[in-house]
Structures are given as structure tokens and as C-alpha cells.
């Protein structure tokens, strides 16, 4: 297996500085919905200028370069996951040195910042999954900032306060509550990742994993697809708007996944992704590396 450190460094540079096309298109469409001269429109116009500038200069879209979340899909009989892990870590330290990334790993007990984005075994977070032999090695990266991570919520249903029972009607209620509580703090307009079921851990993990999908694609289950569309539409009726300045667009899409749960538990986890929705993919072919 060849050394991929430099290729992964390029993946990090692209992810931090160049917003994916599907996200940018949604933000461009959102501008037209806001009144000329409004603070909401001004915010979106600034956001679009920032997207162009970051891409042109290879500078971070947002100074909070977030929690790096790597998903590695490796073909059977191909690679050493231990070596890939080492190369990802080396690339991340180099990306930090080059100011593509902010040093973001802070020891929670002693408060010191490691300075290179490497902290213990779990920072960065790397998930490995084996795919069939013959498939290419692919590495996906998502950078999720702390502001939006902080407004994520997990509900244990039934929730008496919201009158939310253990069904789709209850799920709808708690997700809308999460959007109202987030206000503009998660850098609206955002994207909602929702997991229904699982345990506390898997539920949160899956609510983030759905954010690797393209915007606009719907869940195959018509029941969930309908709820995705309804939640986006109803969230936008609340008038929170870009940055919480008031306005038409608070949420640009919703992604839902259903998991199995214990009879005793019914968790609904909401991960909020800010407009600076940084996710990129690299595919390793025999003779070249392709970036999305």
C-alpha cells in the first residue's frame, strides 16, 4: 500500500476551505428568499462571499475547523488500518501546521491544547468499515464545528413536557423543539441529522452519519421521507432565519434514519450541522486519487 499522507492532507485542505456544491447551491437559493436590505439577506451574502474567498485562498471557511470525523471504507485484503490511521494523524498534524486547521484538541482534565489536533486515541475520530474486494479505498471527512455541536439534543420519549409520545408524531414534536431551542446559535441555516431509536451512543453517532449523504436525497422509507420534508418546512415557519436574525430559511434540509431500540428505550437524537457544512471524499484508484 502506498503512503497516502499527502493525499489525505489534500482532502483536509479541500474539506476545510471548499464547501460542497450541494450546500452552496442551497445557500444561493436561500438568498433570493430574503428581503433586500434585511439582516438575513446581508448575512447570507456575507456567507457566500466567504465561501468564494476561502476556496480561492485555501483558508478555513470557519475558524472552528471542528471535530475531524473520518470514515474509511477499505476493501477486503487491501490495507493496513493501522497504517491508514497513522497517515491520517500525520496529515492532520501537517494540516494544522499549514493553518488549514486550527489546533482544536484540548485535554478536558488539564485544559492544555495539544497544538497539533491530535489527542489520545479518539481525536481525530476515525471509523473503519470493510467493503468488498475490488472496491476502491475511500476516505470521507466531515468537519463539524463546536457551535452547532453544542445545540444538538437527545430526547428520551415519552417527553411529558412536549406531549411527545413514542411515535412519528412525538418525533416531530421533539425535533421542532430542538430547532426552536437552537435559535441562531448553531449558525443557521443548518441541516438536521436525526436518528430515531438505538441507545444513547449509537443514536447520536447515526444522527451524524446521515450528514455524509447528499442534500435533497430522501430516505427510502416513504414514512421517513415525508417526515424529512415536513420538518424542514415547519422549521422554516418559525422565523429564526440566517444567524437567528429572523427570516425565511432556518433549515435547508433534514435527514432521518431509523434504528432498532430496546423495548424500554426510545431515543431521538438531533445533530445540527451549521451552514459551514464541510464534508469531502477521496477515492483511491490504482493510478490516481480522485476528490469529489
Amino acid at each position: 500500500m502506498r503512503d497516502l499522507t499527502n493525499d489525505i492532507l489534500e482532502l483536509i485542505r479541500r474539506t476545510s476551505s471548499s464547501l460542497p456544491k450541494d450546500v452552496e447551491e442551497r445557500l444561493r437559493a436561500a438568498v433570493e428568499k430574503e428581503a433586500p436590505g434585511s439582516a438575513a439577506r446581508g448575512a447570507l451574502e456575507t456567507i457566500l462571499k466567504n465561501i468564494e474567498l476561502s476556496r480561492a485562498n485555501s483558508t478555513p471557511i470557519c475558524q472552528d475547523t471542528g471535530t475531524p470525523i473520518f470514515h474509511v471504507y477499505y476493501p477486503e485484503v487491501c490495507c493496513s488500518t493501522r497504517k491508514i490511521r497513522e497517515q491520517i494523524r500525520a496529515a492532520l498534524a501537517e494540516a494544522t501546521q499549514r493553518s488549514y486547521m486550527r489546533p482544536n484538541a484540548v485535554d478536558a482534565i488539564y485544559d492544555n491544547n495539544t497544538g497539533d489536533n491530535l489527542g489520545g486515541d479518539d481525536f481525530p475520530y476515525i471509523h473503519f468499515e470493510e467493503v468488498e474486494a475490488g472496491q476502491p479505498l475511500t476516505i470521507e471527512l466531515m468537519l463539524k464545528g463546536g457551535g452547532c455541536e453544542n445545540v444538538g439534543r437527545q430526547y428520551s420519549l415519552p417527553d411529558n413536557h412536549l406531549g411527545a409520545g413514542r411515535d412519528m408524531a412525538g418525533v416531530r414534536k421533539v425535533v421542532l423543539d430542538a430547532v426552536q431551542k437552537a435559535q441562531g446559535l448553531g449558525c443557521a441555516p443548518g441541516v438536521l441529522g436525526v436518528a430515531i431509536g438505538g441507545n444513547r451512543g449509537t443514536s447520536y453517532t447515526k444522527s451524524k452519519e446521515v450528514l455524509f449523504d447528499q442534500l435533497g436525497t430522501r430516505n427510502e422509507d416513504p414514512k421517513l421521507a415525508a417526515l424529512e420534508e415536513r420538518l424542514t418546512s415547519e422549521a422554516n415557519q418559525m422565523g429564526i432565519g440566517p444567524m437567528g436574525f429572523g427570516g425565511q430559511t432556518t433549515v435547508i434540509d433534514t435527514k432521518i434514519t431509523g434504528l432498532h431500540r430496546l423495548p424500554a428505550s426510545y431515543f431521538v437524537s438531533v445533530s445540527y450541522m451549521c451552514w459551514a457544512y464541510r464534508r469531502r471524499k477521496m477515492t483511491v484508484w490504482e493510478d490516481r486519487v480522485e476528490y469529489d
Partner: protein, 208 residues
């Protein structure tokens, strides 16, 4: 659009109303979670002994912050090895985490403005009227764009907090912000929160 340069007078602060866009210029200091906790514990409540060098930093901060602005920002900075610092990305961080500290810090150092995102709560709003000062909202995530308004990095204090949490002294030019909390009790955040809560209650009352 109104342009304001630090140091800012109380009269100018009282003229500002919620919703007004402003271009800020002059010298300001970044500070976020670790910095606010440190200022409160070491100098304001004095529950912690100052560490070596803290008193000197305190004297310099008193001079720098008087009439100036605290920016809730954890920047990406280049030139760390050579100390030829440059802000590469420098958008605002979420302000509400400083709610327990902000009003007391503003009063103690006579700071006239705070820049952040997401707005702050009732304690800070009360402080806005008493000190007086205003809350300027910058565009969250617009980090490369805002970094362009940073003309110069004049220095840094408390580097032991790490790059994002250190207190960076910067000179800015035409930094675009909107007033969202003013010195007359106005808060755009409280209005949007109340209105969205009413819509939420109506949505929750609808059948599935």
C-alpha cells in the same frame, strides 16, 4: 452605514439601536471561555491567586480594554513559529457561554462593546444598560472574510490557554457587524426567541 472607531464614547454607544449595521475599526482584544473565567476569578472575584506575569497582563488589559471591544473569537493564526502572526480565519464564536461573566467583565474594564454570535441573555442585557455597552453580532462562520478586516496582530496574552483561547490584540478596519443588543434594553434575540416559541406552540398543537 455608520463607522465607529475604538475607543468608543458612551454617547455613541447610546445612539446605537438594535438592527443597525456598523463597520468597526481600531484596536480590540479577543477573549473567550478561558479568558473570561480567568479575568473573573483572578481580578474581579479574586478567588484565585494571580500566576506569574498575570498582574502585568492585567495592567495592560486595563489600558487596552478601556473604551474598546472584546471579540469572542478563537482564530486560526499563521506565523506561530516566527511570531510574525497573521489571522487566517477569524469568525465569531457562540457568545452565550460567557453569559455568567460578561456583564462583570465589561463593567470592571469599562469595555464598550462585545462582538460575537448568537446573542446573550438577560444578565448581559442589564449590563448593556448599566455600563453602558452594546452587543455587536458578526456573521458566524464567515471566517476568511472577517480575517480580511484584521489589519495587524499587535500582540498576544495568555498563550498558555492555546491559540483559540489566547487573548489576541488586533487592529481591525471596517469589520462588519450588526447591533443586536443595545443599551436601551432592546434585544433582537429575545424578540426572535419569543416569536419562534409562539409558532412552535401552534405547530405542536396541530395533529400529526
Amino acid at each position: 452605514m455608520r463607522s465607529i472607531t475604538t475607543p468608543i464614547s458612551d454617547d455613541v454607544i447610546r445612539e446605537l439601536k438594535v438592527g443597525e449595521p456598523v463597520l468597526l475599526s481600531g484596536i480590540m482584544v479577543t477573549g473567550r471561555d478561558a479568558a473570561h473565567k480567568w479575568m473573573i476569578e483572578t481580578f474581579i472575584k479574586q478567588t484565585h491567586e494571580p500566576k506569574e506575569g498575570d498582574l502585568q497582563v492585567y495592567e495592560e488589559l486595563k489600558r487596552l480594554l478601556n473604551g474598546s471591544i472584546i471579540y469572542h473569537c478563537g482564530p486560526v493564526v499563521s506565523g506561530l513559529d516566527t511570531k510574525d502572526y497573521k489571522f487566517v480565519a477569524a469568525g465569531p464564536t457562540t457568545s452565550i457561554r460567557e453569559e455568567p461573566y460578561q456583564a462583570d467583565v465589561m463593567k470592571h474594564f469599562n469595555v464598550k462593546g462585545v462582538i460575537g454570535k448568537g446573542g446573550m441573555g438577560p444578565k448581559t442585557l442589564k449590563g448593556c444598560q448599566e455600563v453602558p455597552f452594546v452587543y455587536f453580532h458578526a456573521i458566524g462562520g464567515a471566517a476568511s472574510y472577517i480575517a480580511q478586516s484584521v489589519q495587524k496582530v499587535l500582540g498576544v496574552y495568555k498563550m498558555e490557554f492555546g491559540v483559540p483561547e489566547a487573548m489576541w490584540v488586533i487592529e481591525v478596519r471596517d469589520f462588519p457587524v450588526v447591533v443586536t443588543m443595545d443599551a436601551h434594553g432592546g434585544s433582537q434575540h429575545a424578540v426572535i426567541d419569543d416569536n419562534s416559541k409562539k409558532v412552535l406552540d401552534a405547530l405542536l398543537a396541530q395533529p400529526y
